[in-house]
């Protein structure tokens, strides 16, 4: 069972690495942060699989930290992005 779980983790990490190509290609900042979100979700899955394969209970806490970091990264991105375009959000809402 452990071999299968490690193999699945490797496959998911490969998918995450392929998704990172989107950071190179862009074209916008939002596409790049989406790629970072993929690292968050895929990283959690890979860490959980590896933790179960090795029987290491602490990896669940690592996955929890990754989940929090991915959420904070997305919110920080949106906050910075919306701060660049002041006033437009109010105008768009009132239309």
């Amino acid at each position: 069972m452990a071999e299968f779980l490690v193999g699945a983790a490797a496959f998911i990490l490969g998918m995450v690495a392929l998704g990172l190509l989107r950071i190179l290609r862009g074209p916008g900042d939002a596409d790049r942060i989406m790629s970072a979100q993929l690292v968050g979700t895929g990283g959690i899955a890979a860490v959980l699989l590896l933790g179960t394969a090795t029987g290491e209970a602490a990896t669940v806490d690592i996955a929890l930290t990754l989940a929090l970091l991915a959420a904070f990264a997305a919110f920080a991105f949106v906050k910075a992005k919306l701060a660049q375009t002041p006033g437009e959000s109010r105008a768009a809402d009132s239309q």
Binding site: Q37, T52, A71, V78
Partner: protein
Amino acid sequence: MSLFLDLWTVVAVVAGAFFFFAGTVGLLRFPDSLTRLHALTKADNLGLGLVVLGLLPQMDSVAAGLKLLCIWLLVLLSGATSSQWIARSLREGGSES
């Protein structure tokens, strides 16, 4: 019983890995940012959910399984919220991306 649980783990983890594959293909191949956001947030959260469901029978205790489910719930909540915010920033950012 143990064989059945292992079979469940294999089936669910393979299905989860397939959804990660689908999410990556969507992120790379879809034509614009909003469709890519759609592919990423749906497929990957479902993939993680299937992986978590597959790992549940391998856990030692009920508490460890509940912790796994809590991680999935956190990812679902933050993913749903942040995808709405990213879509909002895309809409207000105009056609630059």
